[in-house]
Amino acid sequence: MTDHADLLQGTLDLLVLKTLILGPLHGWAISKRLRQLSDDVLEVGQGSLYPALYRLEDRGWIRAEWGTSPEAGGRRAKFYNLTAEGRKQFSAERSQWRLFSTAVERVLKAT
């Protein structure tokens, strides 16, 4: 296994919301998309993914719907969809993250 990075506390929500920006996905697809987008650096523990999905749904940022998945051979899958509130939350969290990461970067760069 190459270098995997553990997720920082609190960033999982942001990443999940990001994967859903383009359209509804089911759980496994979300984890796969995260892996792809991060060039296999970010490995989301499935054990944290599903509780996170539930939490996001609970807060009303995503909505779950049952549908059929072509890649699963037509099996029933639960698709997660971003709500309007979820979109707002995403941009808020994204700017927060940027602020945070640049600040950290700045600190690390300092001599």
Partner: protein, 880 residues
């Protein structure tokens, strides 16, 4: 949808559709694993089995994730609650002795509380059976703050024609009269009412029609309504009843309707309600009517009082010739209040008693819990070390105590059903108590009491447990924890509290018992053991004139005196100690000392009696003379007064020969006092036995009470007396034959029952307190076995050890008892009104119960203390 509502809905779904959600989660995770496996199969060219295994490994334990998911769903507490309950139930099953005693103690407390609550619910909290009972008032005539009485027809008609505040007003005159529905007349409770009475109450008929305004006018065909019970027993059912004619005291009434059986009108005793058809009166009196009014929408009792006051002023002028008491005013009282009477106070006594018992029971179980918790300290500590949070352990203990108290509630409700039956038979004599039953309110009440008790009882040991460090528990075990100073104080605190709660209860029981014993020694003023009494009524049609009535009574008395076993006989219009119905009182004015014009005259119980009355009852002559057969009233009427009366108005002993006018009659000739007789208790044994008598002469009533002095047991002559009375007039109505001593006993029923019930509660309290001190001390002894062993081994004598523990137990009990004594001194003042010739702070009674309680404490401490002294030193030291 607000996000809060959204989340609440989801939580609700998570709880209610738990199975669905779990299934969906399973499905979702299975899909995840399948897809992951497929991917692995594709990328790494693995066999499907290997791929699946790797996918599962990558996922980690599925169950763990499910658990994490449940956490996020917020249903963990439910799962844990389920676990707690299961665990607590298991733990309780493992210690049946503890469980059974705790449940039994709580069942006792909760059962008593629930029974008394049901009574209070039915009597005080529930509404009267009439619609909008808050609009109903009863109207009285009041001439001084302490004296009010029923109205007269003149009053009622004045209100009817002048009032502006009531939508309906009605009156009832109650009487016991012979009613003939079949062949034989039966003495029956009759209420002569106007149609407005039923309209005001809102009581309707279930069959036929009610009384209407047309029935009220004099000359209308006499109509009556009857109760469902009367119709069923006497008239062959509701349908058959309507249209029948019944004879009420000589007048035929057509039954026009049967009252709604679901509504009990007034006390429920009155069976027949003829229309009163009140005529235009010729004078202000006589009084004694029950008048009720329904206030119009928006009218308050104060408004009604103003309206009635102005009616009183207007009416006074009209009747000034026959009524001079200008102070007499018509006053309205909320019907609820007049019906409840002093029920809130008398039930309040029992409520206070059961609350104390419940608190002691809870303290007792808390003590048991504490000991049990200390015994389980090691187990609890191990759990803590294994990762249970402190909150979780506390919850476990509280769950356990809630389980115990809920079980107590179930048993308590069952006990309460029996308790309520006891309360109904020997409880305080209050209206509507017979309507009490264990309903939803009572069960809810029991559950709430149980939950509160459960939390409090469970929290008590938690306070104590949560302070110690867990390592102490694992290493030191019970001794390290149960023996701390803090634990000792908590246990001692419970014992002190139990004794402090028990003492006021014992004090109340002692005072009530003392008062009852004194009441028993009151001389009723007559020879209770040898007097038979019964009511005798003559049929109206054949006894229309006074001559016929006088002839009957004279012949009847002669016939009764001839019955073997009869010593003497007399007649009177009052029966001493009749309880409910009350006694006729009359106002009078002494010629030597008239009251100022326009003010209230004094009143006294007033009987009309034959010359033989005093001899029959065994009332002695004190001064002057008895009545003689030719005391015929006329221009020189005579009266006899009781010793207390004479002493109050003429303390110098000069009552005989004085003159008075009675009944506010200004045109009547004054009566002369010819004799003073012994006191007779008319109202109740505890009242001042004043009274006055006038001879039964003109206008002999058709209904009188017969008093027969017997040589042997009074009931032995009943059949002979009945036969003698019927020989003179076969159609005579005889009722309520009883020896006078049963009347005396019945008049003491309330104080006797109060003493019995409160006494039972007090005994339970003392017993529980004793168990408390016994349990705590036994525990302490077992805790200090080793130390005691060492002491004994070092030469301490057994008595010294016994004394040490007895002293400890007694110190706690005494501290509690002293605190309780202070509380009792404050609280028993509340009993003053119910006590007879006993001060609420009677030092002998309070001292007595204090000593009694300490003796109980001594006995309860003695056994464990003796056990301590009997410890074998060698054994004790080897044990640890």
């Amino acid at each position: 949808m607000s996000s809060f509502a959204h989340r609440a809905l989801r939580r609700l779904r998570a709880l209610t559709r738990r199975g669905d959600i779990e299934r969906e989660l399973d499905e979702e995770l299975a899909l995840h694993v399948a897809l992951e496996a497929a991917e692995l199969e594709r990328q790494h060219h693995l066999s499907p089995d290997d791929a699946r295994r790797r996918a599962l490994v990558a996922f980690g334990g599925i169950e763990r994730y499910k658990e994490a998911h449940r956490d996020a769903r917020g249903v963990r507490w439910l799962d844990e609650l389920r676990q707690d309950v299961r665990y607590a139930a298991r733990a309780l099953r493992r210690s049946p002795t503890f469980t059974v005693s705790a449940v039994a103690i709580l069942a006792l407390g909760i059962g008593a509380c629930t029974a008394v609550f049901s009574a209070i619910d039915a009597v005080v909290i529930s509404h009267l059976p009439y619609p909008h009972d808050e609009q109903l008032v009863r109207i009285y005539e009041r001439n001084s703050p302490t004296n009010q009485f029923g109205l007269s027809v003149a009053d009622f008609q004045a209100i009817e024609s002048w009032q502006r505040v009531f939508s309906d007003v009605g009156m009832v005159r109650s009487a016991d009269a012979p009613v003939t529905a079949g062949a034989v007349p039966q003495q029956t409770a009759v209420g002569y009412a106007t149609s407005g009475f039923f309209r005001a109450l809102g009581v309707t008929t279930s069959v036929g029609r009610g009384l209407v305004a047309a029935d009220d006018s004099a000359g209308a065909p006499p109509a009556a309504v009857v109760t469902h019970a009367f119709a069923a027993q006497q008239l062959g059912g509701d349908r058959a009843a309507v249209g029948r004619t019944i004879d009420v005291d000589g007048t035929g009434y057509t039954v026009v309707g049967v009252l709604d059986p679901r509504v009990k009108v007034m006390s429920g005793r009155t069976a027949v309600w003829p229309d009163a058809q009140p005529r235009k009166p010729t004078r202000r009196g006589p009084f004694g009517l029950l008048v009720v009014g329904r206030m119009k929408e928006g009218v308050t009792v104060a408004d009604a009082a103003r309206d009635l006051a102005s009616i009183s002023r207007r009416e006074f002028v009209v009747w000034q010739a026959s009524f001079q008491d200008r102070d007499a005013v018509l006053v309205p009282w909320s019907l609820r209040r007049t019906i409840l009477g002093d029920a809130p106070q008398s039930l309040g006594l029992f409520a206070a008693a059961v609350v104390l018992v419940m608190l002691i029971a809870a303290a007792n179980v808390a003590g048991l819990m504490l000991v049990r918790a200390a015994g389980r300290w090691r187990e609890v500590s191990v759990r803590a070390v294994l990762g249970a949070t402190r909150g979780r352990i506390a919850r476990l203990l509280i769950t356990e105590s809630i389980l115990v108290s809920l079980a107590g509630a179930v048993a308590g409700v069952a006990l309460g059903v029996g308790g309520l039956r006891v309360l109904k038979t020997i409880g305080p004599h209050v209206q509507r108590l017979d309507e009490a039953h264990m309903n939803g309110h009572a069960i809810l009440f029991a559950v709430v009491v149980a939950l509160i008790a459960g939390v409090v009882i469970g929290a008590y040991p938690v306070v104590h447990l949560s302070r110690g460090g867990t390592s102490d528990g694992v290493l030191g075990g019970e001794r390290a924890v149960g023996g701390t100073r803090r634990a000792h104080l908590l246990r001692a605190g419970l014992v002190v509290a139990e004794f402090a709660l028990a003492l006021p209860l014992l004090a109340a029981a002692g005072l009530l018992l003392n008062s009852f014993v004194r009441l028993q020694h009151v001389n009723p003023g007559f020879d209770a053991a040898h007097v038979l009494t019964m009511s005798v009524s003559l049929p109206a049609p054949r006894y229309a004139n006074d001559t016929a009535v006088v002839t009957y009574w004279t012949r009847a008395l002669d016939a009764v005196r001839a019955v073997p076993g009869v010593v003497s006989a007399g007649l009177g219009d009052q029966q001493p100690l009749t309880g409910d119905q009350g006694i006729d009182e009359n106002n009078f004015d002494l010629l030597d000392r008239p009251v100022p014009a326009g003010t209230a005259q004094p009143v006294t119980p007033w009987s009309v009696v034959t010359a033989g009355y005093f001899a029959a009852l065994g009332v002695p002559l004190v001064q002057g003379r008895m009545f003689v057969p030719n005391d015929t009233g006329g221009p020189h009427p005579v009266v006899i007064v009781s010793r207390s009366w004479a002493h109050r108005y003429f303390p110098d002993g000069t009552a005989v020969g004085r003159r008075m006018v009675s009944g506010g009659c200004t045109s009547c000739p004054p009566s002369t006092i010819v004799g003073v007789v012994g006191d007779v208790a008319y109202e109740s044994l505890s009242d001042v036995p004043e009274g006055a008598y006038e001879p039964l002469t003109e206008g002999w009533g058709r209904s009188l009470f017969l008093f027969v002095h017997t040589r042997g047991a009074p009931m032995d002559v009943v059949s002979g007396v009945n036969a003698a009375l019927r020989a003179v007039e076969p159609a005579v109505t005889l009722a309520d034959a009883a020896p006078m001593d049963t009347r005396v006993a019945a008049s003491m029923a309330d104080p006797r029952h109060a003493a019995t019930l409160v006494g039972a509660f007090a005994l339970a309290a003392a017993l529980l307190a004793a168990i408390g001190i016994f349990g705590t001390l036994s525990y302490t002894v077992s805790m200090r076995r080793r130390e005691i062993g060492v002491r004994l081994a070092l030469g301490a004598r057994g008595e010294a050890v016994t004394r040490m523990f007895v002293r400890r137990g007694m110190a706690q009990a005494a501290l509690g008892a002293v605190v309780g004594l202070v509380a009792a001194l404050i609280a028993t003042r509340w009993l003053s009104a119910t006590l007879y010739q006993v001060s609420a702070t009677d030092p002998a009674t309070l001292g007595g119960v204090l000593v009694a309680l300490l003796v109980v404490a001594l006995a309860a401490s003695w056994a464990p203390a003796r056990r301590a002294a009997a410890i074998d030193p060698a054994d004790a030291m080897r044990a640890e």
